[in-house]
């Protein structure tokens, strides 16, 4: 069992070195290169976080030790943007590397559209600005990717649905535009569940997204199967964005979060994923799932980066009437803050059935970390949480039924060739355009909204939504600053296991810890804390008070510094995986 995988990884690392050798020489070479990670990133990554090291007093996680080649890679933005300004790397170089990385990891299926050409043009302009000493801000020249349910002007926006295949919006979403206005470079549009309905990124017309961590040495070492058949899901619905950030093909990515769609894949792919307070970020240009819960999500490799991006994206947008004025925010997260001032709540209802022992152990470990550092840690109760998921589904289906009504094939998108009557055209267009998941939610939503059912379903769910919100308010009123919970029940499921259950069941299971926050409109962030026995990330969620996103991130930043989550090491690109397989097959033969 052990020896064949060692052989495999050796052969890959040899290939890997060869591949990156050119890049190393470009940037001065000599440094230790993590597999799949360009050399210059290693140099930039030595930040205060890694200098501090892990919390020695904390209980040992029930996980395998991370490979020691890892240097905890934090503050990528600030480091990279400093490198850009110092001329140690150019924006075009950075952009090229990210696009190469997208191609190298194409087997992840994280991207629907790669915008290589326009990205290089943007990067060129960023270089010109930087060269003349006039960068637009900390994100100037930084590559990013966007979930394919945000409108991007002149760039296809599909929602991973046949309904919008080939649809090119004439405008960009406010959050996308804000990033572009800051000089950030859009490298591509990422894969998702169709219209963001799902928790696995397995139900889109472009196929499932694979979790980059299932292509690390640690995962492959334990697998006896083909890398094309044994891989873990990325989580969803923003799986493409999470995979893109995790696989180092973007420094940041936008996701959307309706019931956990940013935090769930963020958690499973081991990246920082922030769901800001409802209304803090504009939804203009985000193709809606549930308008009253949707929030653009921010995915990065560090809390610091998430804070940088939040600062840029937050604030009132006159094109979205539900946005609010952002509270004043300091330029960056405080490096020194006293965790002893913080009161952490542990909701007892989150000890849900199905919670994995790995995840539970992480939860206990981090709670203990807070306590040992002097924070007040206290059990709290959210009695209505148990009803949240059912109500979430009712409200979700209702808004879905309504929001999807516009896809009739008339103004844009797919149109059926059946034209015997307008009604027949509508019916076939919608039947052909939407997958089963979308169609089922539309059907349920229309059922809940019928005059005779409205009181029984929609109104009841709204009432429960208020109670859930009250629960959370009460907890915060009692002096709690943040809640610490698991983000998901366990680490990422194997794809073949995950699809044993239908989308409805999976969403109900996967969103259980994440969707109450959407019901209440609160901010929440998930931070990876360790790898599971299978070598897959486990993350914990922090929930904050309305519009206290900054405080939430401050605590998350502290937590991130303590947990020392390892850097990813991809096992290799697809060519190498083929090689990997043949090597393993051979060694298997030898072994048996």
């Amino acid at each position: 069992m052990e020896s064949p995988t060692i052989t495999a990884s050796r052969s890959v690392s040899r290939r890997g070195e060869k591949r990156f050798h050119v890049e190393i020489s470009k940037t001065g070479g000599g440094e230790v290169v993590a597999q799949g990670l360009p050399a210059w990133l290693s140099t930039l990554s030595a930040g205060p976080a890694s200098a501090r090291g892990p919390e020695s007093a904390s209980p040992q996680p029930p996980t395998r030790a991370a490979p020691n080649t890892a240097q905890t890679c934090r503050h990528l933005h600030s480091k990279v943007s400093q490198a850009l300004r110092d001329g140690r790397v150019s924006a075009t170089e950075l952009c090229r590397k990210c696009i190469d990385q997208i191609q190298r990891t194409h087997y992840l299926n994280a991207f629907i559209t790669i915008t290589g050409e326009t990205a290089m043009e943007q990067a060129q302009r960023a270089d010109n600005r930087i060269r003349t000493g006039k960068p637009l801000g900390p994100l100037d020249g930084i590559p990013f990717s966007v979930k394919d349910n945000f409108c991007t002007e002149n760039i296809k926006t599909t929602c991973a649905s046949k309904m919008l295949k080939g649809y090119v919006p004439p405008f960009s979403a406010t959050v996308v535009q804000k990033l572009l206005d800051q000089g950030a470079v859009l490298v591509g549009k990422t894969n998702l569940d169709e219209f963001a309905m799902g928790a696995g990124s397995t139900d889109g017309v472009f196929g499932p997204v694979r979790n980059p961590w299932s292509y690390t040495t640690l995962y492959r070492e334990q697998s006896t199967e083909d890398p094309d058949s044994d891989w873990a899901i990325s989580g969803g619905s923003s799986g493409g964005s999470a995979a893109a950030v995790a696989a180092l093909s973007s420094f940041l990515a936008l996701g959307s979060d309706t019931g956990g769609s940013t935090r769930n894949p963020g958690s499973l792919c081991g990246v920082v994923a922030l769901k800001p307070t409802y209304g803090l970020l504009s939804r203009h240009g985000l193709i809606p799932l549930v308008n009253s819960m949707d929030v653009p999500g921010i995915m990065t490799r560090s809390v610091h980066d998430a804070a940088t991006v939040l600062r840029i994206l937050q604030g009132r947008d006159e094109r979205d009437s539900t946005t609010v004025q952002a509270p004043s925010t300091p330029p960056s997260l405080p490096e020194h803050f006293d965790i002893r001032d913080i009161c952490v709540g542990i909701p007892k209802e989150y000890h849900a059935p199905g919670l994995s022992t790995d995840t539970l152990a992480q939860w206990s470990r981090v709670a203990a970390m807070f306590e040992q550092a002097g924070a007040r840690v206290q059990e709290v109760s959210l009695p209505h949480t148990q009803h949240s998921i059912v109500c979430y589904h009712v409200l979700c289906c209702c808004e879905v039924a309504s929001n999807m009504a516009r896809f009739d094939g008339l103004e844009y998108g797919h149109r059926s060739t059946i034209d015997s009557s307008t009604d027949a055209m509508y019916a076939t267009t919608r039947h052909e355009g939407f997958n089963n998941v979308v169609r089922r939610r539309i059907l349920s939503g229309n059922y809940f909204l019928l005059k005779s059912n409205y009181e029984r379903y929609f109104v009841k769910a709204q009432q429960m939504r208020r109670l859930i919100t009250e629960d959370l308010k009460n907890v915060f009123r009692s002096g709690i600053d943040v809640l610490l919970t698991p983000t998901t029940l366990s680490d990422a499921a194997r794809y073949t296991d995950f699809i044993q259950e239908d989308n409805r069941t999976r969403s109900a299971q996967e969103d259980v810890f994440t969707q109450p926050v959407n019901m209440a409109g609160l901010p929440a962030v998930t931070v990876p804390t360790a790898l599971s026995r299978r070598g897959l990330p486990i993350s914990l969620q922090l929930i904050g008070q309305t519009l206290q996103d900054w405080k939430l991130l401050t605590v998350a930043h502290w937590m991130e510094q303590q947990v020392n989550f390892p850097m990813i090491h991809l096992h290799g690109d697809s060519d190498e995986r083929k090689l990997d397989r043949s090597v393993r097959e051979r060694t298997h033969t030898i072994g048996s």
């Binding site: 405008f171 240009g285 193709i287 009253s292 009437s321 309504s402 844009y412 909204l449 005059k451």
Partner: protein
Amino acid sequence: KSPETFLFFIMIPYTGEFLSMVGVVGLEVHAQIQSTSKLFSGSHVRFLAPPNSLVSHFDASLPGTLPVLNRRCVEAAVLTGLALNCTINRKSLFDRKHYFYADMPAGYQITQQRVPIAVNGMLVYSHFEGRRRNQVVTKSVKIKQIQLEQDSGKSLHDDEQSQTLIDLNRAGVGLMELVMEPEMCCGEEAAAAVRELQLILQALGTCQANMAEGQLRVDANVSVHRPGEPLGVRTEVKNINSVRHLAKAIDYEIQRQMEVLQSAGKVLNETRAFDSKSGNTIPMRDKEGLQDYRFMPEPNLPPLFVYESKASVPAGVDPAQVVVIDRLSAQLPELPSVKRTRLVETYGILQEHSFTLVNEDGLMDYFENVVQTTKAEPRKVIGWVIKELMGNLNSQNLKVSQSPISPCALAELINLAESGHISSSTAKQVFQEMWKAPEKTVGQIVKEQDLWMINDKEELQKICRRIVDSHPEEVNPNKVLNKLMGEVQRETKGRTDPVQVRAILEKMVS
């Protein structure tokens, strides 16, 4: 309740011809808000623009677009609510009403189903009764609510090529839906109520209220019953594009329903279209009755707040950016009913004339202008304005603003007649000349055509003598006097004072 009670109710015996049936009419009015841009988008609002030239991303329901409420439309609805004595809801809500229709791109209409912006109003209107239709009867109808909602686009069906063309210019234009309770009884009442509403909306400037251009659309809910009994099954009559047609459609529908019931038939709850050619209503093929609109709160629009006064605007909210009732109340113009009362009281004119003055756009101003520049009694001026001016305008289908004769010119003419420089019959003649040649002054016309009054007694004597002499066979007094006077008028082209002439002639023939 026991089933027996229930049975008892449906077994009320037929009362025969005991009481005659009456019509019951309620109205649903859609008034297009007069504003430069649409209710939830920045697209312009214009009638007769090239198809699909006024369509924003939101209007075309592109995914990811969101509604942004136009304050001007809210103010229009509040002004209208205030003018119709409504209670303005300080907090109102928006809802989605779902149905698939090609000219409703989002698949739903944003409306105010649960809590509309204004409720419980009252419209006071008058109509004429009596043989000469000069008896003014004043009535009122309750306004249940005024709600803000989006207009739809327009579908054009091309039957030959079997296709539908869609124009979204109108999609998303702001509408005020006014619901009037079923408290009217006939077409005439409904027409009078709508006419009054038009005047109010036009005075407010909240809607141009032209039915032919679709700025005001009126659907009538019509039923018949015997007074004291529950209301009958109603039909909804649509496709009415003028006030006159409204009256006709309602009266036809009432008659039709009565005939159906009298021949022991049943009135169906259906939508019917008015056919202006035949004057009939015909069933429309639609499933309106079966539709479940699946109403849902509009999640993209927060509740709409309006504030009593500047002082009640919460801190942190810019009063200039919100709707303040006090500010709008102060802007309310003189409403038609107030205008009419003022006209009757100030000028001593007949009530029916006050209606004409207010009904015709610009006529009241015209009248008041003339009154101010002439010494003549307002009661004399009203005759000129209503008979001469309106007669000419109507026969040529012109608006008051298109009149070739300005209020000043008319005042000059009236002054000449008043001062005896021209006779009143000449004045009417000069009026027609002025109409034809608006570039000429009154003085020019009178001079050119030699129309000054003959006030010289000797000359008058001469003319009368000549006339009497030329009619020797008819010197029987009294009988012929009128004929002779006519001859004098003809001879002098009306330039004489009939009283004077009569006196002279009487002497001559006696």
